[in-house]
Symmetry: C2
Subunit: 405 residues, 2 copies
């Protein structure tokens, strides 16, 4: 196997959200118990933009962008200047620290694009990168694509406490071992936990102490549930000098179909990201960029209502899941992910996930995607039709009853 | 300077098309001759989609895609299956060889996205990659980003002949020296020359002989002028086993604002490209993908008219340029680029390009972007308003008269 073949083996996407349709159908007859569970299919691998529709005005902004013509089609690689000027103060107000429209902000094809550019701007072959486990599956893959090395840091998210549960000693050990980049999502994907003020403060001071760069993926930070506090690392008094914050309107705002994201922070890193974007995708889609006008400028009450509706689904699903003996799940503080740990099962977790699709018409994302310690878990994106999601989770619970050890 | 700093220095975009606005204005007072030349500003760094507007029906297809909802927003990473099924036979008919919709085709964010994924799927650190000089500037940068090594192959495009002018001996030498990947654009960017049947046949047989992979960027292959023949490498009897063809509707079809491209060819390479796309940008923008329905399905006569109009501009500009003593330019056989070699000048070429912007309101792309042997040239994208382009080229000629040695 060549080095390239090895690398691409590590980047497997067979179990990634939305890719399930490409899997060969496995014959599960030998392990299958009972009849199919009837019900409307639900794909929990990503949010349903038919249930939670895109921000009002998004399509109109796009169409106006097309009619604006050349100036909207061909923007600077880092995105249209007037849009950066519009977004910078909004992002500054949201995160509590200044954002430089001219040299500290880049528009990207989705927050995935921002994350790729940010990690590639900060790490090269042989570099050590601290990565949380569990965390968004692309973080690990990005490091591997760049021939860099993952130094894992555990998130003990099931240890109920006022913290997300990051092992700060392991983080410091990673820095001591030479990591000069730390990448994490907050709220954490897949668990929905939010880092506490003291955790963020400690991350900031450790990064500063060791001269490390931090990339924080805040994709879900707007969908914050009642009573929760969100701490922006970039607003911390000790925020590291080299810091990139990633956000985007793909989730809370259901604008994923437009592929829009942003990264903001240290100008010399944003510069590198623009240079890389020039050879990766040129720019965020020109006409789509116009949709950014609607971001952080939604109609009054729109965000609050979206949060309320998601919170209701969250609580309904938690009630179903917690009625099952041995099933463990922490209450998400933000976002629309539930990360569920299974009780002891008679079949392998991966087989159970396949059975869920074949027998119960329910698609979930296997926990193994998010790290090596969560293979007995699965992730649900509950940004779905309320009744459909509840019914599907009831089918999951029935399937657990069938297949538990 | 760290390895990352060095790498990003090589990826500089200051003179790239559309980035001119980010340059610090240079004080040229010391070398400036004469008064400003009045006229409507023309930006030849890219095509003007206000002069040549997007394909009819593109916006309508996009809007229908938004209304289609979730299934259009979240597609497989390689693009929506039904669209791949629609495009595969059209691309097969155009290129003269089969395209496998399921495992041999990927939709990408622009042809730039396709090119990035293709090169990264085929080359890693230390690999040798044969690159044409002059050719599209990103080719070199992609190889450098991947810590691979460029082995240059000259294109003697000014040697008037029935061939594009590729130095086939140099290409074989590159293969002998260990290159296992050859990347080139056909029609060539920036010169607009089209590789002859015998050149394509020789490239195919050399690649086959040395077991090399070929990536051919055919972005402009639809805009083919009267009397020209285009040879598709993938239809050659000796086509190499590992071959990726890149195309997209950004140029001829003026759909750049939607960021759409495709790559098709060897399934195991398309597989790798999809895995990489998953961590780079997830997918081509979901709603934009719907616009692919209009591709190769334009109204009758639309493409022929577009070619005719471009050919008229080409010939008008060539007449102006060839009236200047010592200015050299080959007649482009396809696409909308003119690559012009300056006569001996009293100022450096880079200074002349800056003077063109400041005194004549004309933006061109410096030849140094395309390779080390064409620093005394510049590129024009003449997909512009006809009268405006002619007037701007007249200003260029007047400026050459002012600043020639």
């Amino acid at each position: 196997m060549t080095a390239l073949e090895r690398k691409y083996t590590l980047l497997a996407t067979d179990n990634a959200p939305g890719q399930e349709g490409r899997q060969k159908t496995v014959d599960l007859a030998a392990v299958m118990r009972g009849d199919p569970l009837p019900g409307r299919p639900v794909d929990f691998s990503h949010g349903d933009v038919d249930a939670f529709t895109p921000t009002p005005g998004a399509l109109e902004a796009f169409v106006a962008g097309v009619h604006a013509g050349a100036h909207q089609a061909y923007t600077e690689y880092r995105g249209k200047q007037s849009l950066r000027a519009l977004l910078a103060p909004r992002l500054a107000a949201f995160t509590g620290a200044p954002v430089a429209a001219d040299d500290g902000l880049i528009l990207t094809p989705g927050s995935q694009g921002a994350l790729f550019l940010a990690v590639a701007a900060c790490a090269g072959a042989g570099d050590k990168v601290a990565i949380v486990q569990p965390d968004y599956f692309a973080n690990r893959k990005l490091v591997q694509f760049l021939d860099a090395q993952v130094l894992p840091v555990r998130l003990n998210y099931l240890a109920v406490s006022e913290h997300a549960g990051l092992d700060l000693t392991q983080l410091e050990d990673a820095f001591k071992a030479g990591a000069r980049l730390f990448v994490f999502s907050n709220p954490n994907n897949p668990t929905g936990v939010v880092y506490s003020p003291s955790e963020i403060s400690r991350i900031a001071s450790l990064a500063k102490q060791y001269g490390a760069t931090v990339i924080v993926d805040q994709l879900y930070s707007r969908l914050l549930y009642t009573g929760q506090t969100y701490t922006h690392l970039r607003a911390d008094a000790n925020a590291p000098d080299n810091l990139i914050t990633v956000m985007g309107p793909s989730k809370t705002e259901s604008l994923s179909g437009y592929r829009l994201g942003v990264a903001f922070g240290s100008p010399h890193l944003i510069d590198r990201m623009e240079k890389l974007q020039a050879i990766v995708s040129l720019r965020a889609p020109g006409y789509c960029q116009a949709v950014f006008q609607t971001w952080f400028a939604e109609p009054a009450g729109w965000l609050a209502e979206r949060i309320t509706l998601h919170q209701r689904i969250r609580d309904a699903l938690l009630a179903e899941l917690r009625a099952v003996l041995g099933m463990q799940v922490r209450t998400p503080q933000a976002g629309s992910y539930l990360f569920v740990q299974l009780p002891a099962m008679a079949v392998a977790p991966q087989t159970f996930v396949a059975l869920l699709r074949q027998q119960a018409a329910v698609t979930v994302t296997p926990g193994a995607e998010f790290g090596p310690h969560t293979c007995d878990s699965f992730r649900l994106n509950f940004s779905q039709d309320h009744a459909g999601a509840v019914a599907a989770v009831q089918r999951i619970c029935a399937m657990v009853a069938r297949y538990r050890a």
